[in-house]
C-alpha cells in the first residue's frame, strides 16, 4: 500500500479513476514478475481451465453433431469472445470479490475505508490479477482461428461488436460488484465464484438452444447472454431481436450493483464491522 501516496489521489474524478487503475496494473505486474516462472505456469493452468468448454464443443462437432443453425467456428467464436471478456474482467475488476472477502474476514477492511477514494474502486485496483493474461491470449487465439474460417465481418458488424463488447464488460463488472457486496453479509463464502461460474455458462452457447421463456430470463432479465453470445452474434451478423433491450438491462444491472454495494457497505460500517 506504500505506493498509494496522497499525490495520486488528486485530480478530477474520471481521470483519477483511470490513473489509479493504471497504477494498480503497474504495481501488480511489478510484484508478479518477481516470480516469473510461477506466473507463466499459473497463467497456463488458468487458461487450461477455460479451454474445457471449447474442447467439448470441438468433440461434439467432430462426432458429427452440431448446434442447429451454428457451425463449429461460430460457436468457437462465442466461446473465444467469452474468454477475452472474462479474462479482461477478471484481470481488471474481479479482484474486488477476493479482496473484500479476505479483508472483511480478517477485519482489515477499515484500512481501505481510510483511503480518500472510492472503497469499491480501491478493492479492485489493489487486486489486479495478471494471471488472466493467459486467458485473454487464449481467447484471442481461439477467436482468431474462428474468424479465419468465417466470412469477414462488415464495418457495421465490427462497430456493433465493439459496442456490445463494452456492454458485456459492464455486465461482468456488475456481477463482480454484486458478488463483492454479498460478501459483507455472507462472510467467508468462497463458493460465490462457483455460483457465478455456473450462471455464466449460459453465456457461452448460442442462445437459440434455450427455451423461449428461459431465453427471456437470461437475455432481458439477467443479461447473461450479453457476456459473449450477443457481441459474437452481432459480429457474425446473426443478431437476434431484442439486443438493445438487453443492453438496457445491462445498464440497469450495473446501476443496481452499485446501489447494492453501497447499501451493504453502509450496513457493514454502521455495525462497526
Amino acid at each position: 500500500m506504500e505506493a498509494w501516496n496522497k499525490e495520486v489521489f488528486r485530480g478530477g474524478s474520471m481521470i483519477r479513476f483511470v490513473k489509479l487503475h493504471i497504477m494498480g496494473v503497474k504495481i501488480a505486474f511489478a510484484s508478479r514478475m518477481v516470480y516469473r516462472a510461477d506466473f507463466l505456469l499459473s497463467s497456463f493452468i488458468t487458461l487450461l481451465g477455460d479451454l474445457i468448454i471449447p474442447l467439448i464443443t470441438f468433440l461434439i462437432y467432430t462426432s458429427g453433431a452440431s448446434f442447429p443453425g451454428w457451425n463449429i467456428y461460430e460457436v468457437l467464436l462465442i466461446q473465444g469472445i467469452f474468454m477475452i471478456s472474462r479474462g479482461i474482467a477478471n484481470m481488471f475488476f474481479f479482484g474486488t470479490v477476493w479482496n473484500t472477502l479476505s479483508s472483511v474476514r480478517e477485519g482489515t477492511f477499515d484500512l481501505i475505508l481510510l483511503r480518500p477514494h472510492s472503497t469499491l474502486h480501491m478493492t479492485m485496483i489493489t487486486a489486479i490479477s495478471c494471471d488472466d493474461l493467459g486467458v485473454i491470449a487464449g481467447g484471442i487465439l481461439i477467436s482468431g482461428i474462428a474468424l479465419y474460417n468465417l466470412p469477414a465481418p462488415g464495418i457495421i458488424n465490427i462497430l456493433g461488436f465493439i459496442f456490445f463488447f463494452i456492454v458485456s464488460l459492464m455486465v461482468l463488472v456488475s456481477f463482480a460488484i454484486i458478488m463483492s457486496a454479498t460478501v459483507f453479509k455472507w462472510v467467508g463464502n468462497s463458493r460465490v465464484y462457483e455460483i457465478f461460474d455456473a450462471i455464466t455458462i449460459f453465456g457461452q452457447y448460442p442462445a437459440t438452444i434455450f427455451s423461449k421463456g428461459f431465453n427471456i430470463l437470461v437475455t432481458w432479465v439477467i443479461p447473461i447472454t450479453m457476456i459473449a453470445f450477443i457481441p459474437a452474434s452481432v459480429l457474425l451478423g446473426k443478431a437476434a431481436r431484442g439486443i438493445y433491450i438487453a443492453a438496457l438491462s445491462s445498464v440497469v444491472l450495473f446501476v443496481m450493483s452499485l446501489v447494492i454495494w453501497h447499501l451493504m457497505q453502509k450496513k457493514y460500517t454502521s455495525v462497526g464491522g
Binding site: 516470480y35 510461477d38 505456469l41 499459473s42 497456463f44 493452468i45 487450461l48 481451465g49 474445457i52 474442447l55 467439448i56 468433440l59 461434439i60 462426432s63 458429427g64 453433431a65 452440431s66 448446434f67 442447429p68 455472507w186 463464502n189 463458493r191 462457483e194 455460483i195 455456473a198 450462471i199 455458462i201 449460459f202 452457447y205 448460442p206 437459440t208 438452444i209 434455450f210 427455451s211 428461459f214
Partner: protein
C-alpha cells in the same frame, strides 16, 4: 482393532461437526448442481434435435450420464489433497508427526465424516430435485454392483487426491500444479464429457489411467453398460478391474508417502 476404529469414529465425528458449522457453504451445491445440469439439458437437447444418438448416447441416456455423474460426485468427492497441501505448507503437518496417528488413515476418516454430511445436504436434495423437477429415472441397473463400484470410486478418489497432496512435500511453490492435476483428473474421469467422446487412441490410454475408475466406471455401472475404446465389458469384470486399480493406486500412494516423509524428516540431508 477397537482402538483403530475409535480413531475413525472420533475423526469422522469431529469432521462432520466441523463441516456442519459450514452448512450454508455445502448447500450451495443444491443451487449450483441443478444449474449445471440445466445447461447440459439445453445443450444436448439442441445437439440431438436432428439426430437420434451421439456416440451411442440417446438424449435420455446422456442426460442420465450427467445427472448420475453429479450424484456420484456428491458421494465420493473430498478435499484430502487440499488439506494435506495446506498442512504441509503451513507447517501444521508437524502436529501429526508428533502424535501416534497414521495421517492417511486420519484423512480417510475425515472424508467419511465429511461425506456423511454431504450425503445429507448435497446428495439427497439434488437427487430429489432430479427425480421430481427434471424427471430423471434415477434407479440403478443393479443396486449391489453400483454400491460396490461407488465405494471403490470413493476410495479411488481419496487415493488420487491424497497422492496429489503428497507432491506438496516436494513442490513448495505449487498453487498451480495441484490445480492442474485436479483439472486433468476431472477431464479424464469423464466429469465434463463421457470418455467415449474422446478420440479412440486417447480412450485406449485412458483405460489404463486411474481416473476413469473414480467416476466414469461407477457411472457406467449405474447405467448398466460399460464401454471404452470400442470395447465393452461385463459389469462384474469392470468392477473387478476397478478393485485392482484401487490396490495399485494404494501401493503407489504408500511408496510416495514414504518418500515424502523421508524428505520432510530430513533423512540423508
Amino acid at each position: 482393532m477397537i482402538k483403530t476404529f475409535n480413531v475413525l469414529k472420533a475423526t469422522a465425528f469431529v469432521t462432520y461437526k466441523e463441516w456442519a458449522a459450514y452448512r450454508s457453504h455445502m448447500l450451495v451445491s443444491v443451487f449450483v448442481g441443478p444449474i449445471y445440469f440445466l445447461v447440459q439439458y439445453f445443450i444436448w437437447s439442441a445437439v440431438l434435435k436432428h439426430q437420434e444418438t451421439i456416440n451411442g448416447f440417446t438424449l435420455e441416456q446422456i442426460l442420465m450420464y450427467y445427472g448420475i455423474t453429479m450424484l456420484v460426485n456428491y458421494c465420493i468427492m473430498d478435499f484430502a489433497g487440499w488439506n494435506l497441501q495446506m498442512l504441509i505448507h503451513t507447517g501444521k503437518f508437524l502436529t501429526f508427526m508428533l502424535r501416534p496417528v497414521n495421517h492417511k488413515y486420519f484423512a480417510f476418516s475425515q472424508k467419511i465424516g465429511h461425506r456423511l454430511l454431504g450425503f445429507c445436504l448435497e446428495f439427497i436434495p439434488v437427487y430429489l430435485l432430479f427425480c421430481f423437477v427434471f424427471r430423471l429415472n434415477l434407479v440403478p441397473d443393479n443396486f449391489i454392483w453400483t454400491l460396490i463400484s461407488v465405494i471403490l470410486g470413493f476410495v479411488m478418489m481419496f487415493l488420487v487426491n491424497y497422492t496429489i497432496g503428497i507432491t506438496s512435500f516436494w513442490l513448495i511453490r505449487t498453487g498451480g500444479i495441484s490445480r492442474m492435476f485436479l483439472l486433468i483428473r476431472d477431464i479424464f474421469a469423464g466429469v465434463f464429457i463421457p470418455l467415449s467422446f474422446f478420440p479412440e487412441t486417447m480412450q485406449k490410454i485412458l483405460f489404463y489411467l486411474p481416473f476413469q475408475y473414480i467416476s466414469y466406471v461407477p457411472v457406467r455401472v449405474f447405467l448398466g453398460s460399460y464401454e471404452l475404446a470400442g470395447k465393452s465389458y461385463e459389469i462384474s469384470y469392470i468392477v473387478f478391474l476397478q478393485f485392482v486399480a484401487v490396490i495399485v493406486m494404494l501401493l503407489i500412494s504408500e511408496v510416495l508417502w514414504k518418500l515424502g516423509i523421508k524428505k520432510f524428516s530430513g533423512v540423508g540431508a
